[in-house]
Symmetry: D3
Subunit: 259 residues, 6 copies
């Protein structure tokens, strides 16, 4: 199986190779979404970022990357546009948590002991927590980390990125298709970024509560919620490296795996 030996991706491996590696490795599960990300980024933005970070950290930790949860939990209008935009494909909560639970339980049945779920979409988090709890409720084994990359990003890196940007860091809800996501895509998949379409935009109103059905002035018309024009591939590289470092440390600290 020499042809597959440099890969970290489950999808490219035959069963004997997975069998050899799964017990002693951390297994990373990218949890993306299919959600509008402005006119300049593909609807798979959250998926691409979660997969690329997973692959990178798997390389650092001698881990495996499971096939992604490519679709995500419902996009929320006030942070991601929701169903106002064509191209967003929402899973309901029950669907999403059962999907995640089945995949996690099967990984454990296959011998995985240390599983790291990497959401690329904020809305996924609570339903992923529920999926893990459902697995554990049934007496399931394994240890599960859920690590939002934006929560892992170190404070100094975040500050250094935003220090020269007028208005500063607007909070992660407004970072949708903004500086950091655009930068990460320019770093990981520049061919999928349409630089000519990058604009600065925001929702006319952003109150501290949720309203459903959501008024149109709570949503950015373009689907871009902040100043994407400040994005650069270099910012993307820095964010990626910082997050991968933090994740590598987290795996080393919490799990009994060798790398």
């Amino acid at each position: 199986m020499s042809g597959q030996s440099n890969s970290v991706q489950f999808e490219e491996m035959a069963w004997p190779e997975i069998k050899n590696r799964i017990g002693s490795s951390a297994v990373f599960v990218p949890a993306g979404s299919i959600e509008q990300h402005g006119p300049h980024l593909p609807v798979s933005t959250d998926l691409v970022i979660a997969e690329e970070l997973s692959i990178e950290v798997a390389r650092h930790t001698d881990g495996l990357v499971a096939p992604p949860l490519n679709y995500g939990y419902r996009s929320q209008p006030q942070s991601g546009g929701g169903q106002s935009f064509t191209g967003t494909i929402n899973l309901r909560g029950e669907t999403y948590q059962n999907l995640a639970k089945d995949v996690l339980s099967e990984l454990v049945a296959d011998g995985a002991e240390h599983i790291v779920i990497i959401p690329g979409h904020g809305e996924n988090e609570f339903f992923l927590r529920e999926a893990v709890d459902l697995h554990l409720d049934e007496g399931g084994e394994g240890t599960f980390m859920i690590a939002n990359w934006w929560d892992l990003l170190s404070e100094p890196t975040l500050e250094s990125i935003y220090q020269d940007i007028p208005g500063g860091f607007p909070g992660w809800n407004a970072e949708h298709a903004g500086i950091i996501e655009t930068s990460l895509m320019q770093h990981f998949s520049p061919e999928m970024v349409d630089n000519g379409e990058i604009i600065d935009d925001e929702a006319p109103r952003a109150p501290p509560y949720v309203l459903k059905p959501t008024p149109s002035d709570f949503i950015a018309d373009s689907g871009t919620y902040y100043k994407a024009t400040f994005a650069t591939p270099e910012i993307g590289r820095r964010v990626s490296e910082d997050v991968v470092d933090q994740l590598t440390d987290a795996v080393r600290t919490e799990f009994d795996v060798n790398f």
Copy 2:
């Protein structure tokens, strides 16, 4: 959005492009699996085949390819090995049909009128039918084709492939990781095929009924259920071309789309 203009894949598009194209195009949904396919093929074999055929027929019909249902319904031991093999990740029936239903309903909400589901995994079929029926039960719109590629393959092509193989065509249940799947993978993704691991194998017993828990002699030890050594990239090419022709005709016959 010129950078995305040659693609047929939803995942690579920003929302405005999807909005422009979705109403007038057939939308193809690959329905793969993560399932052992012998020591020579990756666990994503069903997924790769479904995606590649979807992309090809989308190119012929000016269609779109939605992000795949990458995980599939439970692998059945007597045709695919089931949970005896590490690397197979099974979704339960309810999970799978809800996943498919949510995705199909959302595509329709986004304007899709003509949807073609392309399973790469036989076990998916009845739960995909159920997903469509659940959508229609709720008053959902759209027209849905479910087209197993193996059912589309023309009789003459199948016969020409098997005419020189001792034993002849063993039925599709035994074609798991066999001649045709191996040939398709050699055609589509030769870098994922480990030619040195190709063998001929079969289950010691293959009775005309299902037994669960499944005795080990109903399962091929290697995970290969037939004579994979007869596979060639050329057979893969012929199968692909034939299936794509049949699918293109089916789309033209059944749907009101222009291409």
Copy 3:
């Protein structure tokens, strides 16, 4: 309880008799449907056939027949007419698999170790597999055979029946209310067959894919999908005997029961 001693049917027994017999016997579960079968056969055709075969094989194997799953999974339009016909009563997938699972789990709780499910309706199969898997997922005991009678019918018998029929064997999908089902009903329950209504019919189109909503020309107007006029009670008797022989052998081979 001498009055009940010649019966094999659970429904006719009091609890002490079931208690005495259930542990050492194979238990047969007929899985029928309520589905149109043309103007000449009752909507219980699949149910009657599954029950009659179950009773016959139970007599050969000293087994028990549980009360049937009388309603079945959704009739598919291209093979059975679906909801186009009054009198078809469809269960949804989740309903059907939970019903089957509860019944199977309770039989096991009552001491059954060897359970044979006999579908009379092709659409039931995958949801019965799921039901068994759900039972086993929960740590449930028992061994389960799912035996479609049409898959058990021996090749020589099938060939001998069709050898003189113009067009030959059309595949099981087209056998709906056709020669073999009509013959079996003439054999088992002639009083329920309206011989004056028997006709030959077929769907105008029978393409190798599923389309939903289903165009009317994929469906036979009468509900009869093939040449029912060739049916005879004698064919019914031969099919029944052949299937019962095969099932008896299967029980002897796979299960540790004495008869």
Copy 4:
């Protein structure tokens, strides 16, 4: 279709006959159970009684009888023995209400407007109510009567039966496999009653609350909860006639059907 013309049972009819009759008839749905009924009655007692009463009242009202819900909601230990007895097959609440709901919705889709559900098992009632409500919640049409035969039985008939029995009427919970159920079975299906096994029995304790897990002294050892030895076929005939009269009146009063 002359051969079927005297029947009232759906199961014996072909689709055209059902189509002709379903819109203008009341449709009766027997809702039985598979539950121990002492050593003298079959486990199908509730089913047989519900079916026989349905057939009889259908004859009086020119109605149709749908295939029964043969399995029932969980037998309760304090009134029916529960899972302490081999031969009782319990459906869970969700399974049972979904089964009933699917059947009712399909009958309505087939044109039924007036549906009478006849439970033979007290435990079914609230889950049948829920099934009807679920159907109506979805905007479903039709009018539904749920008529427990024991609630329909007139006070004078009940009193005349019990006037000479020491201890008098013990309440319906204790009537399990008692005088009235035994009498009804002697009337409807004497070949299924093992008269030599009839005894008088009762649970040692019958407190006015439910306890789960249920202590064994809340359950009658034999499964007979009262004085079955007082049963006669004549009592069965009188109960049946009385209930059928009441049901016929109820149909005439509440539904707009002609007979």
Copy 5:
């Protein structure tokens, strides 16, 4: 924690106090409803009665009272008015049983061994039984009593209340917002009773079957189903004392707790 020492209510305690007491105490779970109770009683009537009785019996048995299931299963039109009245909030069956099951399972996980569920609403009962069975099906521990207060009320007390009332006891279905519920509320929460609105009323028709959708003449216009004008606080006191005595005895008889 001296400040909390006289309470029996979980809601008023901090976790260490609950930890100290839960293992050795009976835990009472009031199961109320939010349902119209005529123009003179609040929609929380069933909840208030269930809570007050729980608190009283907990004081007698050194028990704990868990936070109530405040919402209840669907009000039935023929006994409680159903959705004809503003202010009734119905839970569906599946919702209600899952809610109860989660709460019961968590109490057991917290160490409760003896749990008494006190419904204040007749419709709750079967779904509470199902909840307990679901818990036990999963191997859950604990012993559960379900005690409807109206079933506990002793025959002499009931008779003494109704002896002077013209028409006598009409059955519990008609007692909705009637003499006994009104009296209990006058006893427990006189400030929530609007004595000026008390009337005698009834449904024009009360047949011995259920009809859905329910005709308006099966429902009392006022929401009061019987002769509430006969209510007095003194009757409320006697009912409460009698029920609390019976419940205290039941706890002493069935559970191994000291008080």
Copy 6:
């Protein structure tokens, strides 16, 4: 109904009063939890705070307060202690969202047009969003605000509270049973606060990811996650007034109700 005229609580009203008021009022739904809150606060802390704020804002806006969702979604160990503490009662995600959905749908069926859900427990939020979406998916009417009180609290008030506290504001996750929740309880329900048990505590580790099963050093031993000793009733009053002002403004801005 003069006796009820000063109340804003649904629970204290008879149906005619609710009918008169529900269409023109905002309806507030407190969404609490039963969760440990250190040794000094009751397990109903989240519930009490949500209810008290709801009542206060209802008084300001001439609104109604529905009976609370008293139990909440699963307590998360890293922010609330989870199942490590006796007295925490967790609902699963599906249970919680169905409960909320049924209640919201019924309020709308009763005529409510403007509904404000006030969570007292952070974990509830995403499952409340899902509940609203499920209601809207079915074509349900009404407008729904979900307003976490901690998100409404104005920045100046938060800063003024924390300006003198060493370490400053630790983020809302660490505010569990901390300064603000303790202060609110001292303001609303001083009799339920055990001042002698107030301590400062924290989890030994608080990493920016979730780990399940959760290591014990991610959890504060006492259940108090921050410096509760700084709490005062005066802080509670200021927080309450500020939040009520913000909520009143939000209702005025978003809803078409008069007050």
